[in-house]
Each structure stands twice: as structure tokens, then as C-alpha cells.
Subunit: 803 residues, 2 copies
């Protein structure tokens, strides 16, 4: 008689109807998500097992969803609550849907290239781009409908981000229709809200997090900003009362404030002082004091305050992520354990979960992941073991070979050759020689196009080095190291450069110029550069997301700028302003030659979105930004300054946060390597988290048996059989597998905050006692607490004992 | 019979000769600093005691010197070794001598105001300033001679700073004489070394520390700087190969590098891009990539690396200071304990030490300090107690009164009135009301000279507030709080402003303008502003010393600038350069008016030291600095650029360190207040370190007795008698004294690094066992280890039992 385990908790997706239909009225009755034995005919075991299996399947799916929510940091109140919601949830949570979201968002943003103040070569007719926009908006509406279906109306309304998106969508819809009817674009500042659609994408999670972090760092920032502005006003009043000595820049209070605001950015520095300085040499004290207080003290304070807040926010974010994941694991665990053994998780359940959580994972890897979690080797996986779920889930498994070389299986002579090469390329002497050569080669650099012979010789050596390394370490091992990749590309580029030279291909000369990049090899030797560059690689994803965040701000400002300032500046405009010179374009006759005297600043305009981006970048760099501001102001109104000043403050916020982020990441990394006395140089462990799993023959066989029972005929079984084949070949009764993945910031944080994490967990488990999760779910479903199982079944003996 | 204790260790100042003459040949023989009883006539006790007393006095003095060296972080190898050295040491270590050093250093620096390219109004004849210089140099030579006498020739040569100073002195001497003979200044770039004399002053210790910190932060800085320059060169080569599109700025490799160097400072930003941008819109990519890598990434990395190093250096500095102080205390303790009781220090010895260490301290305070150290209340002070020496030495002692109000002694009615006022001003409601008023008053600001009535009303209220607070809290308590001082000055300034208005005193109008400073009161309310401003107050001394360090760099650069570039730029110069416009000064006729079209940049010159300072400040602010550089370059040689670029890099170093310092201080403070959950708001404990000492009547009497014996007839006894009088008046048999001092960075650090400090100490005591100090001194004197005292004397019973 098959003893089938029943789940402790039944997924909320599983309705009465479903189970009744399977169960055929016998055995168990599902009332309010509770399996209660119904009086009546004796239970029909086969249908009972089928029903149980189905309820298990549904539990697996819900557990996988919980774990996914934990991974993506989705709040649990958006968890699907019924089968209809589940269908919508599954529809809305796959890469095809995400891609659609992303493309829609991108399309909407890209549209501004061809709308009214369009890039000349991309201009589209109004009805074309308006139709495209309507199409994209309909797509967004469709996505929102799916979300509504999945979340339910009440949750949908409570979800702020979605509500904002809905409102913006409605607005854009109306405007797009108006544009289509009037066949002309009106003042559409609301286009600046378009990035919302992009930011809401699943793939833009990092950007959302950045934005949240920026908003969280705002309150202290604003406090110090007020201090800054306060001193600015005081100095402006002081400057204005002495206007007889500061003719131009301080004649009115408004001018005075604007001059000091620009002075804060140093963009007008010696100029603003010069007229007064030429009259009275002591007037420089005013400016020196102002700059010392504002620029050198308060601005640094701003950075300090933001850095400090940022530190705290990063830690809190990490904490809440950790606890959210833990809570997700708790939820999933409750759904996966059986009524008979509520404290442990068997391989069968784990495998069922993984089939939903990572459908593409092979059976072997699922089994190995289970083994990696089960460090104690106990028959069941305890909750504490299961808490490591997110740490092991990304592992890539590989059997550990005796020698770990790719050429181990080759014939003996070949093996010896490769072994020699391997030892050679790994030796310090080899690395040192290559570096030495690089420093020699660097002395022969010139920008001329004549390639010295020594260069070709050395390049050949590099080529041989790359070949040796690839053959010696094996292509996979070689390309898995960032430094080797770098070497490879530098060498390949150098060869391409040589070829470009040899065949005289003009457009590829820039490759020749990149020759000095060879010098970067030298940076490998020095510990600090390795640290710096490793940190740089680690930072790169975050930096990219911060850059994207900045671009989103740029986009909004560019749209506003285009709506108000398109075609405002042109050559020889702004003659009434103080910066007329910079906009001048006149022919000047010097001797008998006519030279075009150009100010060029008319190029910094908002005539289309690309120009706007360049203009905004110039404003970000700050130098001479007031020329653009004054030019635009002189052609529009004084209120235009508000736009430029706001932009300055916004970029200041983002830039300060970028600085704080780099500081934080770098100092964190340094502290980490100091705290753990980790060499960070060892190329093997450079970015490796390694787990081991030992598989014995019996285990492998038992697992294979289990899989054959639960999902027979699946091709994934091959992977398990592969394990057995490998054992046969090596002739040993067990095989050790190594799971590797690269180290993430989260791993570093875990190690850094080790002690605090224990406290957080203790606090967390005090607040959420094991039962509380269950009762939470039950409270939401408004059902009475479960009564004890009336028909306890004997505990099975091992994880695989299912017969 | 008086049992006199003899010191364990005899000061090295005490020669054989001295003690022989006192001892008269009897009792003890001092051989090689060892008191050994001589065979012969029975010891004559009175002369024996006199000799012992003298050796004690000398020990006290040496111990005081050790403690002074510990406090000033003077290395022990400069410790005076014999009586001659001691005399020189004492001569060179008092405020008069320090002042002389400082004034000589200042005089030498100030001389440059009147030397060759002099400030017009301060020009002196060559023989006058050369004579003054010689005079100052003679003074320096005299100071150095004293140092030679004190250090001895061998130590003098080993002391690097002093050797550098000597060399510079010789050089300056020769040059001054040459100037005096030739009656004209030659190219005297070595004047740039003059700050060395100032930096070497005792009072400039903070500047020396800053310089050391800057040099310690240099290696990582240089590493990243190389990375920066490396990318700059690559981009320069890339830019130069495309010179056909970047006409002006990239025509040669030199121009290309200079353009990119200036671009790194953003000073030429949109301009350098404009010509290329106007030809091909995509050329902006080159500049955007360059700026993103160099300015936004590597420059921030630079800050991160410096910040990280700075953190480490600060901690190491603190560690070495702590250990140095501890070692100083160890040395002093060895000299102070008696042969009979080598583990403890009696009041008598402590008092003897303090008479040398703080000659102006009253007997009462010396006694109270001893009590504060002696927390266990044991009869002797153990070494562990004595380790707290530097913590208690700065305390200001005051008897704790019952109510702690200044008006406690007044008649009852008056007391009640003052008590009421005291309660009122300390109440939250009162503080809140005053802040509320401030925010109301702030709404009525204007820069006009008509004072609204409301302002006068509110000002009266502020005046009354100040008066109430002064009377309620007592003037001393009131002015001891920084915030109250701030209130007071703001109110007084406002009143002065009103008076200035009433009597129409034009030059004082700036006071009226400072009215908005009243608003700063609002900042008191908010915790963050309090933190920021408190940090600011704490930072101030360090900031000032950093500013001074910057000025010293300025000075050196100004001298070099004056020697090479004096009178190089003038109106309408530099016509061959690209920045000719900025130096133009021509009359332009617009319509029928003649307007002076001024470029003003000729004002940024090196014509005298004051102009040079202003020019250098402009270069520090960086904006448009290349105009000054190009102007000077066009009138001199290309090599001038080296000066400007070096200056930029040097100020970048100093500025980065200032930023790192502010960041560090602020983050440290924040972490501190977070770690200790300290409110930081409580005005009482705001910056207080408080020690308590309870004095009983018997103790006071015994101490008085002791003092009468050891130094009878001294006026300092009055202070001790005052204690007894106070006891009589209060009628209690004991009195509690409170010692207060403001909290320093060192106190904060002690609390922050609590655990590490214990480790350091453990490490330190492992390396320096208690005996090792003694044997160190003895090894230097090359004497055999002391044999045990042949005539042990009974232990005295208490610290005061001396009869």
C-alpha cells in the first residue's frame, strides 16, 4: 500500500471545485483549503493519491512563486490569491512579457526622436507617430489589464506605482488622441512622464531601486541645500547693498542671487569678481569668503551627509532584502512540507518545487542543489538548511576531475605537452616576463604610422602567449577570467590594427591608436590597480543602472526643454544679453582674409532630443553653463532660469549620489578585503563561491528511481544517468561535484554584516514565529486554524523511500 | 626617625658630582646613577635626606619632561640626557621661546611683501629688508644652536627635520649676504623654502601633522593619478590623429594633452568641443566618453582611494599617539615610584611631578587631580590609574553646589525670582516660542533700510531673552554654551545695526545686512543642523590648520610665480595667444559714447605676493584657469605650463584631502552618535567630560599638613585652606568637586575604537614589559642593572604618612 504524504498547507490556487472533480466525492473533502476526511465510502486510494498529487503540484507552483517574489523583492500582498489570478500571474511573469513591456517603454521614449521638434533625418508625419504612440499605449493598457486581473481590483488600487502608471496612461491616451485629431502637436510637457512606463518594467528594477535610494537620500540633502541657499541669499543681499562696486553682476537682488548661484558652480568665477577687483583689491575677500563657505565647506558637507545617509540606506536595503527572502523561504517551506513530516523537506518535494522554479534546470542539477543545501546529510531538509536556498540556486555544477585540466583525457604524450604549457603559463616567471616585455614595448610608442619591428615582434609574443594560455588552461577556464579576456581583446585589437595598417584601411586607424591600451597590462601587476579594476568590474552593473537613471532624468528635462526652448537660440541671437559674444557668427576681415568669427554657443540648443541631450550633458559638466542659461533667458523670460537651476540641483543630487555610491562601494570593498585578510589576488578564488556535493552510487541510483516514478520518460533523466556513467568510467563509488558562481555584492555584505545579520534574524523570528506565517495566510483566507490530522501516517524512513 | 623613600631610578640629569657635594662623602655613594651605600662613617641622615630630596626633585623634573614629550608627541630619542642638555631643553621649551620661533618664521615670510616685486605701499630698500632677513636668520641660527645643545651633536644629525632646516638656513644666509652685497635681489626661488622655518615651530604642530598626512596619502593618490594621466595620453593621441576635425585644440600632441588636461578640470568644456561639434555632431561622443571616464569615474575613484587611505592613516596616527603617551607615562612612572614601594605612586611624588609639569596649577587642583586618578581610593596610585593621566590633566575643578545655580547664596526672595526665571528659560515652551518668533520675523525681511516696527519689537524680545537667560543661568553657565554665545552675538549685532541705522552711520550698514543671520537660530531646532553645526565647531581647529597648510603651499608657489612671472602680463599683452580677448583693454565707441572694453585678466598676475595669492586662489577654484595659464605662457615659454599644472595637481591633492577629512570627521561623528545612542542634544553634557572627586575633611587636613612640610609658606596653600573653609561653611564633613573639560576628538576616538585600543595595549605591553623601560635607559647609560636595595625601609601606611 502506498503511503502518500499530504501537504500541511494547501495552496490558495486550489479551489474546492478542482479537488472535488478529481476526488470524485470520496475520501477527503476540501473545505476552506483544509483537507478534512469526509465520512462516506472508504477512501479510494488511487484517486486519493491523484488528488493529493495534484494538490502537491499546485503547492509546488505557489512555493516557486513565493521564492520568485523573494528573489525579485515583490511584496507578498501582490501574491496571486486564486487560480484566475494565477493564470494572469503566470502570463505576466515570463521573459516574453517582460520583453514586451520593455519594448513598449522604449518605443514610447524613442518616439520623441520623430515628434514635433524632431531630429531632421527621423522626422515622421503627425499621424504616423501619433498612431504608433496610440499602439504603444494600447499595449501598456493591455499589460495593466493583466496586472489588474492578477492583483485583483483592491490590491491594484493599493499598489501606488501601478496607480500612477494608470493615471499617466490615461493622460497620454487623451493627449495622443487630441494630437491625432488636430493633426499637430500641442505643448505636450506630459511627454516628460513617459519614462515611467520604462521604469516600471521588470528589467528596470535596478533603476527603480536607484530612484528609491535617491528619494530616500533627499531629506538630509534638502536640509543642507537650504543651508546653502540661505548663505547664498545673505551674501546676495550683502553684494547688492554694495552694488556701486559690483556694477554688472549685482545691480538687482535677482541678478545678485543668480550671480552667486552661478558662482556656486564656479562657472563665472574670476569674471564675476573682476570689475569689483579692478576698483578695489580688497573686494576679493567677499568672493573668497563666499566660495570658502559655500563651495569648500557646505558642498562637501552635502557629500558627507549624503554619503552617511547612503551608507545607512544601503544597509537597510540589504536588511529588508534579506528578511524578505527569508520570509519568502518560510512561506515556501510551509507549502512544501508534508503533514506527516512538517519539519523537513524531502527530495521529492524539493524537486517538485524546482520543476516550477527553474524549469530548464536538469534533473542532475536539481539533485545536486538539494545535496548542497543538505549539508548535514540528514534524510530531510530542515528549514535552516532551506534558508540557504538563494545562495545555492545560481550554482553551475561540474564534476571535480582529478587534475581539473581539460586535457586530462588526452593521450599521454599530448597530455605531457599540454601539462608543460599549463605549468609554464601559470608560473610567476612567465607572468613577470610578459609584464617586463610590456614595459619595454611601451617605451617605443609613438603616434606615427610607421610600425617599428620591435612592436611586431612583441605582438607576436603576445599572440603566442594568448595561444599558449588558451591551450594550457583550456578555452573555458581561460575566458572565464576577466583579466584573460582583457588580454585577449587587447591582443586581437592590436592584430587588427596591424592588418588595418598593412592594407591601409583609413577608417580603422583608431585601432592603431588604441595600441597604448597594451600598457593597461602593466596594471595587472600592482595590487592596488587590481583592486581598483576589480572593484570597477564589480561596480559596472550598478554604474550602468545609475547612468540609466541619469538618462531618464535627462529625458524628462530634454522634453520640457524642447517644449519651451526649441528653436529659441540661433546664430547672432541674444544681442541684449551679456553673453552675446558666445552666440555671434560674423565674418571678420583680418588683413585681406575673411574669417568666420564663431561663438558656437547657438549649437547648445533644444532643437531636437539629441541636441537637448548634448546640451544637458554640457549643463551637467557645469562649466560655462550660464552662457546657455543667459542665452535662452534673453530670448524667453526670466523664469527660464528656474529650469536651468532646477536641472543643476537635480544633477547635483544624482552626481552626489553617484560619488557617494563609488565611495561606498570602494571603501566597502577595501574594508572587506582588510577584514577578511583575503588576498583578492588569487586568480582561482577571485570571484568564486564554491559549494561541494558528494554523490554516492546508491544515492544516484535511488534518485534515478525516484525520477523514473515521478516523471518517467523525461529527457532530463539523461543527466542523472550521466552521473552513473561517469562513476562507472572513473571506477569509484562516489563522485564529487563542484558548484560555482561568481561572488555578488550580497555575498560580500553577508560576510561584512555577519553579526548584525544574526541579530536581524533573531529579531525577525521573534516577530514571525513559525506559526505566524501560516496564520497570516489563513487570516487572509478567513478560515479557522487547521484541526490536527485525524489519520496520521507513519514517517517515511529516508528522503527517497516512497515505495 | 624620618624614613625617607628613595627613588627606584635616578634621573640621568643627576651627575655624580652633584650628589657627592651634597652628601659630603658619607652614607650613599652615587656610582653610575646607582645609590650604593658606602662603607665608612654611619650615615648622616639629614644630609642623606637632603641628597635624596634633591634626587627626587630631579626625578620629578625628568618625569614631567617625559609627560610633556608624550603630550607633544616628541620622540624620546630627543630626550635630554644630562644637566647641560636639561638646561638647554628648559630654555627651548617655554612659551617665550616658542613665540620667538613663531615670530621669526612669520617675519621671514612677511618679508616677501616688501622684497623685490613688492606690494607698492610696503616697498622697502634692499639693505633694509636684507638686514631684517639676516637678523631673522641669526635668530633661527640661535634657536638651532639651543637645539644642538639640548639634543647633542649625534641626535641633532639624526633628526631629519632639523637637518633640513639647517641646510635651508645656510642657503638663505648665503643668499641674504649676496643680496646685501649686490644691493639687488637675484632670482631667489629658494625663498619658496621659507615656510620651513614657520612649519618647524612648536605652535605649528597641526600643520606638520597635516603635511605628514598628505605625504602619507600620496602613494595611492599617485597610483590613481597615473591611471588618469594614462587615459589622458591615450585620448590625446586619439584626438591628435583626428586633428582635421578638431582644428584649434588638437593640432599638436602637446596642445592635445594640454587641452585634455584643461578639459579634466572642465575649465574649457563646451568650447573645446564646439569647433568639432559644429562640423560633426557625433564628435561629442569623444568628449562625453572622456569626461565620463576621467571626471566622473577616475576622479571619484581618486577621492575614494584617498578617503580610504585617510581613514587608515587617521586610525594609525591615533594608535601611535596613544601608545606614545602610554610609553611616556611608563617612563614617568618609573622615575616617580620609590625603591620601597615600586608599584605605587604617593601623593607626595605626584605633587612633586605636577609642580614641574603644571607650575601654575594650584595645590588644591593638584590634589584633586590625584584624587580623580585614584578611582579605587587605594593609598597609592597604581600604574593603571596613572595611565589616565592625560585624560584628567586638563580638567577644570569646581565644587559641586547643592543646586548648581549661581544664585543659591542669595536671599530667599531674590532666589525665588531667579529660580523662576531659570525654570522659565530652560523650559521647552520658552525655547519653542522664541523659535516661532524667529520664523515670524524672518518673513518680514527685506534689504530696505526702513525697519518695520515688528522687527524692533522682536529684537526687544530677543534682548529680553538674552537678559533673562544671563540672569537665569548665570553669566558663566550662559557663555559656556556655544549656542548661547551665538544667540548673544546675533542679538548684539542686531542692536548695533539698529543704532547704525538710527544715527545713519554709513560704514556700519553691513551690520544691518547681517540681519538674516537671525534665521540661523532656526537651525538650532533641527537635530541635523545641530549635528552639522556641532561638527562644524569641532572641525574648526582642524579646518584652520588645513587652511594654514594650504596657505603654506600658496606661499611657496607665489614666490616661484613672482620670481618667474612678475610683470609678465599687462593690459593688451598676449596678442599671440588664443585668449587675447581676456587681456584686452581698449576704448570702444558705441554710438557716441566711449566705453572701456576690459578683459580684466591682466589683473590675475604675479606682480606682488598679494596679487599672487589672489591669482592662486583663482587657479584653485579652477574655472577659467587656463586663461591665466595661456596668457602667461604666451609671454614666457611653454614650460610655464608645468608650473600651472603642478599647482593644479598639488591643490587637487590638498583639496581631496580636505574633502576626505570633512567626510571622515562627519561620518565618524555620525557613527559615534549612532553607536553610543547619545542624544548629543542635551545642552549640559554637550561637550563635557566630567570627573568627580570627593574630599573628606581628614584628607584635606592631612594634605594641608603634607604641603606645609614639603613647601611651606607657598601661597598655593591658600587654595587648600579654601577647601576647608568651604567645608566649614557648608557644615558637611566632605565636599564633592567636579572636574570638567570639553570633549576632544581623542575622547571620541577612544570610545569608538574601545576594543581595538585594548588590543593595541595588550600588544604594546607584550613588547614593552615593565622592566624593559628601565633597562632601556640603563643600556643607554651603559651601567650594570641595579642591585637590590641593601637597606629596605618599611612601607608607609598611607599616601600622606611621611612623619
Amino acid at each position: 500500500m502506498t503511503l502518500e504524504e499530504s501537504p500541511v498547507l494547501i495552496s490558495s490556487f486550489c479551489t474546492e471545485l478542482q479537488l472535488y472533480s478529481v476526488d470524485g466525492g470520496g475520501g477527503y473533502d476540501i473545505v476552506n483549503n483544509q483537507v478534512i476526511p469526509t465520512p462516506g465510502p472508504p477512501p479510494n486510494y488511487s484517486s486519493h493519491i491523484a488528488s493529493l498529487q495534484q494538490s502537491w503540484e499546485i503547492n509546488y507552483q505557489e512555493a516557486a512563486i513565493y521564492l520568485q517574489e523573494g528573489e525579485n523583492n515583490d511584496k507578498f500582498f501582490t501574491h496571486p490569491r486564486n487560480p484566475k489570478a494565477l493564470a494572469a500571474y503566470l502570463f505576466a511573469h515570463n521573459h516574453l512579457f517582460y520583453m514586451m513591456e520593455l519594448l513598449t517603454g522604449l518605443l514610447l521614449m524613442v518616439l520623441s526622436l520623430s515628434e514635433a521638434p524632431a531630429v531632421p533625418s527621423l522626422r515622421l508625419d503627425v499621424y504616423v507617430h501619433a498612431t504608433l504612440e496610440l499602439l504603444a499605449l494600447v499595449m501598456v493598457a493591455f499589460e495593466l489589464c493583466m496586472k489588474l486581473r492578477w492583483l485583483g481590483f483592491h490590491t491594484f488600487i493599493r499598489h501606488k506605482r501601478t496607480m500612477v502608471k494608470t493615471c499617466v496612461l490615461l493622460l497620454q491616451f487623451v493627449e495622443a488622441i487630441v494630437v491625432l485629431i488636430r493633426q499637430t502637436s500641442h505643448l505636450r510637457v506630459t511627454r516628460a512622464l513617459r519614462p515611467i512606463f520604462l521604469v516600471d518594467c521588470r528589467y528596470c528594477g535596478a533603476v527603480r531601486r536607484n530612484l528609491r535610494q535617491i528619494f530616500q537620500s533627499l531629506p538630509p540633502f534638502i536640509d543642507i541645500l537650504l543651508l546653502l541657499l540661505f548663505f547664498m541669499v545673505i551674501f546676495a543681499i550683502l553684494g547688492e547693498t554694495h552694488k556701486h562696486t559690483h556694477i554688472l553682476y549685482f545691480n538687482t537682488l535677482e541678478n545678485s542671487i543668480v550671480s552667486l548661484f552661478v558662482l556656486l558652480t564656479t562657472a563665472n568665477f574670476p569674471d564675476v569678481m573682476m570689475p569689483a577687483y579692478s576698483r578695489n583689491r580688497w573686494s576679493c575677500v567677499f568672493f573668497i569668503v563666499y566660495l570658502s563657505i559655500e563651495l569648500y565647506f557646505i558642498m562637501n558637507l552635502l557629500l558627507a551627509v549624503v554619503f552617511d545617509t547612503f551608507n545607512g540606506v544601503e544597509k537597510m536595503k540589504f536588511k529588508s532584502l534579506m528578511l524578505h527572502k527569508r520570509s519568502a523561504i518560510d512561506h515556501a517551506f510551509q507549502l512544501l512540507v508534508s503533514r506527516q513530516r512538517p519539519m523537513g523537506l524531502s527530495l521529492k518535494q524539493f524537486d517538485g518545487l524546482m520543476r516550477f522554479y527553474r524549469p530548464r534546470m536538469s534533473a542532475r542539477d536539481r539533485f545536486l542543489t538539494y545535496k548542497a543545501l543538505n549539508t548535514a546529510g540528514a534524510p530531510m531538509l530542515s528549514l535552516d538548511d532551506f534558508y540557504k536556498f538563494y545562495e545555492v540556486i545560481g550554482l553551475k555544477w561540474k564534476a571535480r576531475r582529478s587534475g581539473e585540466h581539460w586535457f586530462d583525457d588526452l593521450p599521454h604524450t599530448t597530455f605531457l605537452i599540454f601539462k608543460g604549457i599549463n605549468l609554464l603559463v601559470k608560473s610567476k616567471a612567465f607572468q613577470y616576463t610578459m609584464c617586463k616585455w610590456t614595459s619595454i614595448i611601451s617605451s617605443g610608442f609613438s603616434s606615427s604610422r610607421i610600425v617599428p619591428w620591435s612592436y611586431i615582434v612583441f605582438l607576436t609574443i603576445y599572440g603566442v602567449e594568448v595561444l599558449l594560455k588558451v591551450t594550457g588552461m583550456g578555452p573555458l577556464a581561460y575566458f572565464s577570467s576577466g583579466w584573460n579576456l582583457f588580454d585577449f581583446f587587447v591582443t586581437v585589437f592590436a592584430f587588427l590594427g596591424l592588418i588595418a595598417l598593412a592594407f591601409d584601411m583609413e577608417p580603422f586607424y583608431f585601432i592603431v591608436v588604441l595600441r597604448p591600451l597594451q600598457l593597461l597590462r602593466l596594471f595587472k601587476i600592482k595590487q592596488r590597480y587590481r583592486n581598483v579594476l576589480d572593484t570597477m568590474f564589480e561596480l559596472f552593473p550598478r554604474m550602468a543602472s545609475l547612468g540609466l537613471t541619469l538618462i531618464i532624468f535627462y529625458y524628462s528635462f530634454a522634453i520640457v526643454g524642447m517644449e519651451f526652448f526649441a528653436d529659441v537660440v540661433y546664430p547672432n541671437c541674444c544681442n541684449t544679453s551679456t553673453v552675446a559674444d558666445s552666440y555671434r557668427q560674423i565674418n571678420v576681415t583680418i588683413g585681406n582674409r575673411t574669417v568666420l568669427d564663431e561663438g558656437y554657443y547657438y549649437l547648445n540648443n533644444f532643437d531636437n532630443i539629441l541636441s537637448s541631450f548634448v546640451t544637458l550633458f554640457e549643463l551637467t559638466v557645469v562649466n560655462n553653463w550660464y552662457i546657455t542659461m543667459e542665452g535662452v533667458t534673453s530670448m524667453t523670460t526670466h523664469w527660464s532660469r528656474l529650469y536651468f537651476m532646477t536641472f543643476y540641483i537635480v544633477t547635483m543630487v544624482v552626481m552626489t549620489i553617484i560619488v557617494a555610491f563609488i565611495l561606498d562601494a570602494f571603501v566597502f570593498r577595501m574594508n572587506y578585503s582588510r577584514k577578511n585578510k583575503e588576498p583578492l589576488l588569487d586568480p582561482e578564488d577571485e570571484n568564486g563561491i564554491v559549494f561541494e556535493a558528494e554523490v554516492s552510487r546508491d544515492e544516484a541510483l535511488a534518485t534515478l528511481e525516484l525520477y523514473k516514478q515521478t516523471c518517467p520518460g523525461l529527457s532530463s533523466l539523461n543527466s542523472l544517468q550521466g552521473v552513473l556513467v561517469a562513476m562507472d568510467r572513473s571506477g569509484s563509488s562516489f563522485l564529487v561535484y563542484l558548484g560555482r558562481r561568481s561572488r555578488t555584492k550580497s555575498d560580500l555584505s553577508m560576510k561584512m554584516y555577519e553579526e548584525e545579520i544574526q541579530e536581524w534574524y533573531a529579531e525577525y523570528s521573534r516577530e514571525n514565529l513559525p506559526q505566524s506565517d501560516r496564520s497570516l495566510v489563513e487570516r487572509e483566507l478567513e478560515i479557522p486554524p487547521p484541526c490536527p490530522d485525524p489519520e496520521p501516517q507513519p514517517n517515511s524512513q529516508g528522503p527517497l523511500s516512497i515505495n
